[in-house]
Symmetry: C2
């Protein structure tokens, strides 16, 4: 699996991907899942991928060669808008599906790919899309300003609770790293190093494209601080009001049958 | 789906289940997933279930009637040890599988059931098991003092980070509720109310068996306090050391081609 997350914020984009690929737990490798297309001063596009590695690499190559969209040949460096860019990614996925799909299906392998696309092209706003294996796509909105692909469940609760479209880019970087850390700790198929991209709205150049390794001092300090903060936070939660004092241990073994029984649920009682 | 979690602690057991069942997102219901078998002073057993509701109800009924295990007829009120109790649950699952399994398979429905079993029988220690659909089972140990069934991913990171076998029962109650809250917020197939069981080691009676509704003042305050604590915690995380100041917006639209290109990953550069 994979975990990629993208934040669509007022100030710009934060996009983070792990680098682990695996064909079974005994065959893991490191591949970057981040792809960027930039024309400084004019466009920045960043793509993150999840799914079958052969499929995503085929999609990258087709995007590099360019595709014909409604009669015009385009690459990500020439499409006129982010919407067209998402269509181009979808078209690349469909092309790979036409070629590889039938044999994969014959051999019982799912056509598993999803691509997140974020960026800005001069004349338009920053947009963030999630393109599915069928080539169709959805877009992040202020109600849900983040998208995830791959192993998304572990890292979702913190984003559901803390992220808004108004979160700063610095806050977004912290939240994506915390979200990734939760996933790394609980799932072996997501692994370090990480690739992070940060983009400022209307800057038309990438502010940061960073590989974060296990030795990165900042990421280490964040992981440690987050663990400490969580443990402190749960200890400071109010005590359960309805929890009575402990029942003392029984002396010896009683076999009192009074009140014995099988109970389904807190209310219904099934007699033995 | 379902989310159930059980903690195996020095001081005893904490077991928590949601109550939502669903046959598609447009057909949800409330069913207790908690089943207890008690002989005060002699034994307390608590079971939590996940999976196909018809299967788990069939298992409950067979456990109520009793099964023959190595030549002896037993219910959960008579088995001589927790290990035998786990075997009894496994045997009940296999009996249901023999009867319902073939038709379910014919109709393309998986035989989906898992049951958590915690408790203590006089003469033995507190034990916590997870019984699979094949009737085989695993047991919690000090290395991993919790077990989960159903929709487990959202609520796992907090347990991975904060729970140990030495955590108090009060702490355990808070952690399971936080773990459940993370799941409730992020996944529609897990729903309130909750059923909570707390057992003290060597007490041979249930300290608490509680239904927690949306209106429960303690659970409401915990959810709110946890959200606030998480938001505070992420704000207090150190700032990303390698994140440079923001890039100012471009004035007008430049079409400078210098440095344009497609990049795969943070290192490799594919020329356009």
């Amino acid at each position: 699996m994979t975990y990629c997350v993208g934040l669509w914020l007022e100030q710009g984009l934060v996009m983070l991907a792990d680098t682990r690929t695996n064909a079974g737990v005994d065959n893991i490798s490191t591949f970057s899942k981040v792809y960027t297309a930039t024309v400084p001063g004019e466009r920045v596009l960043c793509l993150l991928s999840a799914g079958n590695l052969a499929i995503t690499q085929a999609v990258w190559n087709r995007l590099g060669e360019g595709l014909t969209l409604e009669g015009e040949h385009h690459t990500l460096l020439t499409v006129p808008s982010m919407f067209r860019a998402a269509q181009l990614v979808g078209a690349a996925i469909r092309q790979v599906y036409q070629i590889d799909g039938p044999t994969l299906k014959d051999q019982g392998v799912g056509f598993d790919v999803s691509i997140m696309l974020g960026g800005q092209i001069a004349g338009g706003p920053v947009r963030l899309y999630l393109v599915y294996a069928a080539g169709n796509f959805i877009e992040a909105t202020p109600d849900t300003p983040f998208l995830q692909i791959g192993e998304h469940k572990y890292g979702k609760p913190i984003l559901d609770r803390a992220l808004t479209h108004q979160t700063s880019l610095e806050g977004g970087v912290k939240l994506t790293l915390v979200s990734m850390d939760s996933t790394l700790r609980s799932n072996l198929t997501v692994g370090l190093p990480l690739d992070l991209v940060v983009y400022d709205t209307d800057s038309f150049q990438i502010r940061l494209q960073q590989r974060i390794t296990e030795e990165d001092p900042y990421f280490r300090s964040l992981r440690e601080a987050w663990s400490v903060a969580l443990r402190d936070a749960y200890r400071q939660m109010p005590e359960p009001a309805w929890l009575q004092p402990a029942i003392p241990p029984v002396q010896g073994t009683s076999t009192a049958e009074l009140g014995s029984g099988l109970n389904l649920g807190p209310i219904d009682i099934l007699p033995d």
